[in-house]
């Protein structure tokens, strides 16, 4: 069905756009993952008296298979059609069909051995579904050949929710924050609004199902062996039980590992390191002796809080400086270097700052610098440059920036080894 919806252009054209497909895929992945909880309640940990011989009904298997393959089949059909346009229609279709057959053939050839394998030794229904769900989280996005992961959307959504909930609560308690009037519990609110809390909530939400299944596996006590007279038999019974527990817990530990890897990748996705290319600026003709940077230009205006870099050529000197609007609406202008770090001249990748979320990151020592502290000198903060805001422009005198640049060059900095 996925293939049919993706292959013929006439059908693909009337289908919803990519965003809707991705959203539907996210919902399906979440459904698979969290369906482990009702299965856990119903079937338990899958071993021993509470879940000795479990079966998933045929319709359940059909739905699971449909969910797993629908989106992948659609993407495959889209790719096949694109290839057909480039390579020639018949060969692309037959190539795709042959690839599919080859892909499924190991499964078909080893079907008998797999049946004898006894998947219930390692998986309870809940564990099976949660592991498949975790694998989908990790690999999700491969289907659409893009880097969209449900965890990125989930974490961003959680950040948004927490920020707005904290704002809402402050407004209700009549302690709304202000640019310069300190409000009660402002520090606490700022702490709660950091992405730390939303990340922790997102991690908790996602880790809870496999952890619950794992706890259920380990929460069963050793079997009662008091009535068994022979000591070896007692030991054997306990040993079998514990081996069974290890077998059941192994896939869940793999599942937890997959989720940790996913979150590690997501953190970079939610807050990627952003470093704009420096834009060349020169002395203004209308204001000689000054560099004039408009607050609003073709890149947008500074109010988006994004870091901007500029390069000013003065004789043989190449002066790179940055500008950013701070959360309180004031501007920060500074050199793209600090007083301490001195990466080697060849190590251009480690020079300067990049932006990650609401911090600037020194690329040499990876220190996070809170954006509100830009213009405060010292430490790993970028070296401030004097500036003024005049009529919607940032004005920096050439004399000032050259003076600051020369003073920065004259500083004895550490970190000259790399």
């Amino acid at each position: 069905m996925g293939g049919v919806l993706g292959f013929p252009p006439s059908v693909a054209a009337i289908m919803p756009g990519m965003e809707q497909w991705i959203s539907a895929r996210y919902l399906l992945e979440a459904l698979i993952f969290y369906s482990s909880l009702p299965l856990l309640i119903r079937h338990g940990s899958g071993a021993g008296p509470e879940g000795a011989a479990w079966t998933i009904p045929a319709w359940g298997l059909f739905l699971l298979g449909f969910a797993l393959f629908f989106f992948e089949a659609r993407s495959l059909a889209l790719f096949t059609f694109d290839s057909a346009l480039m390579e020639g229609y018949p060969s692309a279709v037959s190539g795709a069909a042959l690839g599919l057959a080859l892909g499924f053939s190991p499964l078909l050839l080893s079907a008998r051995r797999l049946r004898a394998f006894g998947v219930e030794r390692f998986f309870s229904p809940a564990a099976l579904v949660v592991t498949i769900g975790a694998a989908k989280f990790l690999l999700g996005g491969v289907a659409e050949a893009q880097e969209g992961s449900i965890l990125v959307a989930f974490q961003r959504g959680m950040q948004y929710l927490v920020e707005h909930a904290v704002d809402h609560l402050q407004r209700l308690l009549l302690i709304r924050e202000h640019a310069f009037i300190r409000a009660p519990f402002q520090g606490l609110a700022e702490y709660l609004r950091q992405d730390r809390l939303s990340t922790a909530i997102a991690v908790a939400f996602v880790m809870i199902p496999p952890l619950l299944v794992l706890v259920r596996v380990f929460s069963r006590p050793d079997p009662e062996v008091v009535g068994i007279r022979v000591a070896a038999e007692r030991r054997l019974k306990v040993a079998f039980f514990r081996r069974e527990m290890i077998s059941l817990s192994a896939p869940l530990l793999v599942c937890l590992f997959m989720l940790m890897v996913s979150f590690h990748a997501v953190s970079a996705g939610v807050n990627p390191l952003s470093e704009p290319k420096p834009m060349a600026v020169s002395e203004s003709e209308e204001s000689p002796g000054s560099i004039v940077i408009p607050l609003e230009d073709m890149l947008g205006d500074f109010s988006n809080g994004k870091l901007r870099k500029y390069v000013f050529f003065h004789g043989n000197d190449r002066i790179i400086f940055l500008a950013i609007m701070k959360p309180d609406g004031t501007l920060g202008v500074a050199l793209d270097e600090c007083e301490i770090c001195r990466p080697a001249d060849w190590n251009t990748a480690a020079q300067g700052y990049a932006q990650r979320g609401d911090h600037l990151i020194c690329k040499y020592c990876m220190s996070p610098i809170a954006i509100p502290t830009v213009n405060k000198p010292g430490g790993c903060n970028p070296i401030p440059v004097p500036f003024e805001v005049q009529e919607g422009n940032i004005e920096i005198t050439v004399a000032d920036i050259v003076r600051v640049h020369k003073a920065a060059r004259a500083l004895v900095k550490k970190g000259t080894h790399l």
Partner: protein, 404 residues
């Protein structure tokens, strides 16, 4: 009672929470999902039904939890066998009566009671309290939020110290004086953060005085009052007529737009530093925030900049003006919200519940039940949590003969 069991069940609460979560997820596909979601749950019939259902479910769960805890346990063979672990003391060397078991339990802080049907010993009965208090706090907060969404009213007005009165909620109030911790030597390094903490206004309503601050809202006359903004009031006298300019100039660097004189055009005002201090790479500006110096620039023009100071004369265009002493104005927020005390109480109750959870006295319940069965005691044990370890402990006690 059956209805109570249904609405207070975990399934009911899970279903309602899932429904509300699904609505929120659906709204994330549009603009401003949070605002739309709060509008939905507080103002739409379905949202209100889900919201009130959740509150009722929370309350029902607490009632059921308390009822189950205070309901007396009836010792019986079936009751003992349904516990986490049980043992039948058929060994002649073990305890042979309920009194023997009672003595054994009493050595470790349990207070066993022998009743006609058997023996009961319980510790940690208070463990039901933290969860109950937590649910009560959540329910109280939810009710307060619903009340606030429908009943809150806010009004704002600008008042200057010693200035005219304003009317808020049909109440006439006047600012007698405004005080803050601004200084005459404020050093700003770069564009450093400017924070005020000592801002307050002495207000007068009729003959009653009350002080409003920028910190916690104060309650007066059924309303809540708080300062939400501050700026300068600069009198400009020309030809016997005094104009009062409200200038939003803080923090230093902020630009305010005003017309200092009728017909003089619009000017951009900003605070001008008294002097600059340079130390190495650091440059700081010193501002006199009590008697400020202003830099006036005609809007849309690069020339014609004027420097002026409060209490001094200045020339604006062709006119000579006299600037009076700079005063302060504040923006006053008045709110009428009967739900605010409930919201605060709910948050306090939540905090109390979290503290209760870590207090040892409220830790998990442990229960021993024993009956005589076929002439020898049958003893059962249950723990509220950590059941596996509870079972292991019980086996150790009963096999080794050690007291719990």
């Amino acid at each position: 009672m059956r209805a109570l069991y249904i609405i207070g069940s975990r399934w009911a609460m899970a279903a309602i929470t899932l429904a509300m979560g699904s609505v929120y997820v659906a709204m994330t596909f549009g603009e401003s999902p949070y605002t739309r979601f709060t509008d939905f749950i507080f103002h739409s019939p379905l949202g209100l039904a889900l919201y009130c259902g959740l509150v009722i479910s929370l309350v029902a769960m607490s009632v059921l939890a308390v009822v189950r805890r205070i309901r007396p346990i009836a010792p019986s063979v079936d009751a003992v066998r349904s516990m986490d672990a049980h043992v039948h003391f058929t060994d002649p060397q073990g305890p042979d009566s309920l009194e023997g078991i009672a003595q054994w339990l009493a050595t470790s802080g349990f207070r066993p009671r022998i009743v006609p049907q058997g023996l009961l010993a319980r510790r940690g009965a208070l463990s039901v309290l933290p969860g109950t208090v937590l649910r009560a706090g959540v329910a109280l907060v939810m009710v307060a939020l619903l009340m606030g969404a429908h009943m809150r009213q806010e009004q704002q007005a600008i008042v200057a110290g010693g200035g005219e009165s304003v009317v808020l909620f049909d109440r006439e109030v006047r600012a007698v004086s405004i005080s803050s911790d601004i200084s005459s030597e404020y050093l700003q390094v770069g564009k450093a953060d400017f924070v005020l903490q000592g801002l307050s206004a002495l207000m007068l309503e009729g003959h009653a005085e009350f002080r409003v601050t920028g910190w916690y809202p104060v309650s007066h006359g059924g309303l809540y009052w708080r300062i939400v903004h501050m700026g300068y009031v600069q009198p400009v006298e020309h030809g016997g007529v005094t104009e009062f300019l409200e200038l939003d100039l803080l923090p230093p660097g902020h630009v305010a737009v005003a017309s200092p004189l009728p017909g003089a055009g619009v000017y951009e005002f900003r605070l001008a530093p008294e002097r600059q201090i340079k130390k190495g790479l650091i440059t700081g500006d010193v501002y006199n925030l009590i008697s400020p110096r202003y830099e006036l620039s005609p809007r849309g023009r690069k020339d014609g900049m004027i420097m002026a100071r409060a209490t001094e004369a200045a020339r604006i265009g062709v006119d000579n003006v006299q600037l009076g002493p700079a005063g302060l104005y504040v923006t006053l927020l008045a709110a009428r919200d009967p739900s605010l005390p409930f919201l605060r109480a709910g948050l306090l109750v939540l905090a109390l519940a979290l503290l209760m959870m870590i207090a040892r006295i409220f830790w998990y319940e442990r229960v021993f039940v024993a009956v005589m069965h076929e002439g020898s005691p049958l003893l059962g044990y249950s723990e509220e949590f950590y059941k596996k370890w509870g079972i292991y402990k019980f086996r150790r006690w009963t096999s080794g003969g050690n007291a719990p």
